[in-house]
Symmetry: C2
Subunit: 445 residues, 2 copies
C-alpha cells in the first residue's frame, strides 16, 4: 500500500522556495508598513452568497474554477479564489465608521480549481493591498508606486514594464458597449466562435481578441474616447501627471480592458518582458461599484493591487537575486554520548543567550556524520566533546577556516569563540526588543 | 437586503488583534530559527484518506468536527484540523533521504467544525514544530525548552505550569489497557455512562474521569509502572534529567494521558494557572508510530509541539504585555488641494528614502480633519501645504511636542526635521539588506 500523497497541483513549501517566499513577504510587509497599510486576515471560507454577488456572466470563474461545498447544515461555502469581495465585506463590517480612506493589506492562501500551469497552483498565496473609502487619482498613483517599490526591492527592477489604461466609469462604458455591439453585429460573418460568444455576453472582451481578422476589424470599431465625459478624461490625465511627478514610467495600453462591471477608471499591470512570454507579474485597478453588488446602499470607492506570490517567488529564484544566509553558525557542538549531551545542552543555551549563533548536533552519535554536517552548514568553529572531554573539562576546538585545532577549557569555550569572531559579527536581534513587557507587581507576587 | 456576513465563528483579524498576532509570530519564528528549525507550509486541503489513517475510534474528531467535502471529480477532501499527519506526509515525500533528524515548523490556518468557545474559532491558526527521524530524550527536552522560551518571550513567564508525563510505548500500553479493562469490567455498576463508553473503546481514558466515584476506584486500579520495561522508565528519567540540567521546572502529572495509539513516551502541557480555568496554553508529545498508520514500512520517530495561536494572542492581550509602536511618525504632511499633493507626493517618497517615518495625508481635504488625524497618530512634526505655500515654496512646520510653529522652505523641510529628531531616531531597517541582488551585467545591458 502506498503512503498517502498530497492533492495534485498543490505543493509543500519548504527549503529554498520557502526562503524566497519569506524574502518576498518581508519586503512586501515593509513597503506596506512604510505606507501606513495595516494587515487584515479574512477567513478562507466564506458564504457562497458573497461570492455570487461578486462574479456573474462574462467570467468563467464561478462555473469551473471554484472550490465550493456544503457544510453540515447544508449551507453553501466557498474557499476564497481572491480577496476583493472578501475585504470589502470585512470593510463594511468593521471599517466603515473609521477615518477614511482605510489602508489594508493581506497575505493569504487562496484556491482555484483550474487547469494547472507553471506557478498556478490550486492552492496559492496572494499578496494584495487596498485603499478603500475615497476616490482620488493620487491614491491610484500612490498604489502603483508602492508596488513598483516592492518589485524593485525583490530584484526585478529591470524586468518589467508598467502598462496603464482607463476603463472609465460604468455608465460611459455601457454606452460604449452598446456602440460596439451595434458595430460587430453587422459583421458576425467575420467573427470566430469565441468572439461571437463575447459579442453575446460582453462585447468589450472582443478588444482582447487574438484573432488576426478581428484585430483588423477592431481598427474601425468605435473608440471609447468618443463616449467620454470630461471628468473621466481629467481623472486619467491626473493619474498620469502624478506618475510623471514621482518618475514612474508607464506604457499606455488601451487593449488592457478588464471585464468586471464594477471596475472604473484606472487599470494597470506590471508585465514581465524578460521571459519567453509576455506574462503579467501583478495587477491593479480601481473599483467603485463593488460595494453595491454586496447590497450596500452606497458605492464605496476603492483601489486594489495584488499578486500571486508564486509568480514572483519563481521569478526571483530564476533571476539574479541571491539570498544571504543570515544563519551562519559560529560554533557547532559535536557530542559523543550522553555525558557530552548533558554538558553541551546547557552550554548551547548559554551560547545563544550570548548572541552566538551556535548549534548542538543531537541524535546521530557518529563523529564522521557530525563533522560532515558541520562542513555542510559551513560552521566557523567546531567543538568536539566525548566522554573523556566531559570528564576532563577540556575539549578540542577546530577553526574550520584555518584548519587549526586547539585545546580549550569547556568553561572558557564561549568567551574564546566570541573573541575570535568579534562582537560585530554577533546578531543582537530579538523580537522582544520591539515590545514592552510590563513586569507584574503586587498582583502576582 | 443586508450585506453578506462572514461565516459564524470565524473572524477577521486586524488592528490590535493583528498586532499581537504579529508579535507572537515574530517571537516564534525567531526561537525556531535560533534552534535551526525551518519552515514548511503544507496545503490546507488534503485527501481524506490521509486523515482516515490518522484518526480512528476513541476520538470524536472525524465524525463531527471536520470540514470534509468532495471536489468536482468526487474525491474526498478535508480542510486540515491539525498538522501532525500532514507534516508526516510531507516528510515521507520530501525529507526521508535528508540527514536526520529533520527540524520543521509551521504557522498555518486550520479548521474545526466544533462548538464555539472562547478563543476556539472554526478557522484558527496553529503554530507547531516537529523533530522527525530520531528518538532521543534530549530531543524531547530541547523541544520543551524551546517552547518555554516562546512563552517567556511573549510575556507569559509567570503564568504557566509545565505538566509532564509518559505514556510509554504502544506495546506496554496495550498490556496495561488489558489490565485496566479486566479491573473495571468487574466494577461496571460503579461507572457512569461516559466511563462505560470509555471502557468499551479505550479504558485508558477512564483515568481522565471527572466522576468522584470513579476517581476513588482509580486509586485501586493497576498502575502503569507495573507493566513497564526498563528502557521506557530510563527514557522518561532521562528526559527529566535533561530538564533539570537546563533548569526547566515541571510538575509530574500521571493523569496526563492522551489517547491516540501512536503516541509514545513523553507527553506534556503548559497549563495556564492565572485564569479562572486551568486551561492549557499548548501541548506536546512524542509519536513514533504515526508513519506506519500512513502505510509507511517503518516507524519514524518524532516529537511534536503545537499551540492554537488565538489562545496565546488572547492571553497576551489580557496580560501585561504592551506592544511598542514602532511606527512613530516623525513628519506628517497635510495637503490642501491638488497643487500641494503634487509637491508633497514626491517629497514624502524622498523622506522615506532618507529613513524618515513620514506620512502624507491623502484624500480628505479639510484641515481640521487632517490635524485631528495628526494628533491621533501622535506625529512629532506636521507640515501644512496649501495653494499659497505651493506657490511660495515656504510652509508652516508645527512641532507637536512643544507646540511651536516655524516657517521653513519646503526644499529644506526634510533636513530641518532630521536635524530635530536626531539620526539615532531614524529606522534604518530594510529587508533588502538581508539579501544580495547581483546586478545584471552584459546579459541585459
Amino acid at each position: 500500500m502506498e503512503t498517502p500523497q498530497k492533492v495534485r497541483w498543490m505543493q509543500d513549501i519548504f527549503g529554498e522556495y520557502q526562503r524566497y517566499f519569506t524574502f518576498l513577504k518581508k519586503v512586501a510587509r515593509h513597503e506596506f508598513r512604510k505606507s501606513w497599510f495595516t494587515r487584515i486576515s479574512t477567513p478562507i471560507l466564506e458564504k457562497a452568497e458573497l461570492f455570487e454577488r461578486w462574479v456573474w456572466e462574462g467570467t468563467d470563474i464561478i462555473s469551473k474554477e471554484m472550490y465550493t461545498f456544503k457544510d453540515r447544515k447544508w449551507r453553501d461555502l466557498v474557499l476564497k479564489p481572491e480577496s476583493t469581495a472578501w475585504v470589502m465585506r470585512a470593510y463594511l463590517e468593521n471599517f466603515i465608521d473609521e477615518p477614511q480612506p482605510v489602508y489594508l493589506y493581506y497575505i493569504e492562501p487562496h484556491f482555484r480549481y483550474e487547469r494547472p500551469q507553471k506557478w498556478r497552483y490550486r492552492q496559492h498565496y496572494q499578496i494584495g493591498a487596498e485603499i478603500i473609502g475615497e476616490i482620488d487619482p493620487v491614491l491610484d498613483a500612490k498604489m502603483i508606486y508602492m508596488w513598483q517599490s516592492i518589485l524593485d526591492s525583490i530584484g526585478l527592477k529591470w524586468k518589467y514594464t508598467l502598462k496603464l489604461n482607463t476603463v472609465w466609469t460604468q455608465k460611459e462604458r455601457e454606452k460604449y458597449i452598446e456602440a460596439l455591439r451595434d458595430f460587430f453585429s453587422n459583421k458576425k460573418q467575420h467573427l470566430d466562435e469565441t468572439d461571437l460568444f463575447r459579442l453575446e455576453v460582453n462585447p468589450l472582451r472582443i478588444l482582447d481578441s487574438k484573432n488576426p481578422d478581428t484585430k483588423e476589424l477592431i481598427k474601425f470599431a468605435p473608440k471609447i474616447t468618443d463616449y467620454l465625459k470630461k471628468e473621466s478624461k481629467e481623472y486619467y490625465e491626473s493619474v498620469k501627471e502624478y506618475l510623471d511627478i514621482i518618475k514612474v514610467e508607464y506604457e499606455e495600453d488601451h487593449t488592457l480592458v478588464r471585464w468586471f462591471d464594477y471596475y472604473s477608471h484606472t487599470v494597470w499591470e506590471f508585465v514581465d518582458w524578460s521571459g519567453r512570454t509576455q506574462d503579467t507579474f501583478c495587477w491593479g485597478w480601481r473599483y467603485d461599484e463593488l460595494s453595491k453588488l454586496l447590497w450596500h446602499k452606497n458605492a464605496v470607492p476603492a483601489v486594489w493591487f495584488w499578486m500571486w506570490a508564486e509568480r514572483l517567488i519563481e521569478s526571483t529564484m530564476e533571476s539574479w537575486v541571491q539570498l544571504k544566509n543570515k544563519d551562519k553558525i559560529h560554533l557547532y557542538f559535536i557530542q559523543l554520548g550522553d555525558d557530552a549531551k548533558k554538558i553541551l545542552l546547557p552550554l548551547n543555551i548559554e551560547a545563544r543567550d550570548k548572541w552566538l549563533n551556535s548549534l548542538l548536533s543531537l541524535g546521530t552519535p557518529s563523529l564522521k556524520i557530525q563533522m560532515k554536517k558541520a562542513n555542510k552548514i559551513n560552521a566557523r568553529f567546531v567543538a568536539i566533546v566525548g566522554i573523556m572531554e566531559a570528564r576532563s573539562g577540556i575539549c578540542q576546538l577546530k577553526d574550520m577556516e584555518t584548519g587549526t585545532q586547539v585545546e580549550v577549557k569547556i568553561e572558557n569555550l564561549l568567551s574564546h569563540v566570541i573573541e575570535k569572531i568579534w562582537d560585530e559579527n554577533l546578531d543582537f536581534y530579538s523580537p522582544t526588543k520591539d515590545f514592552i513587557i510590563v513586569e507584574p507587581k503586587e498582583e502576582i507576587l
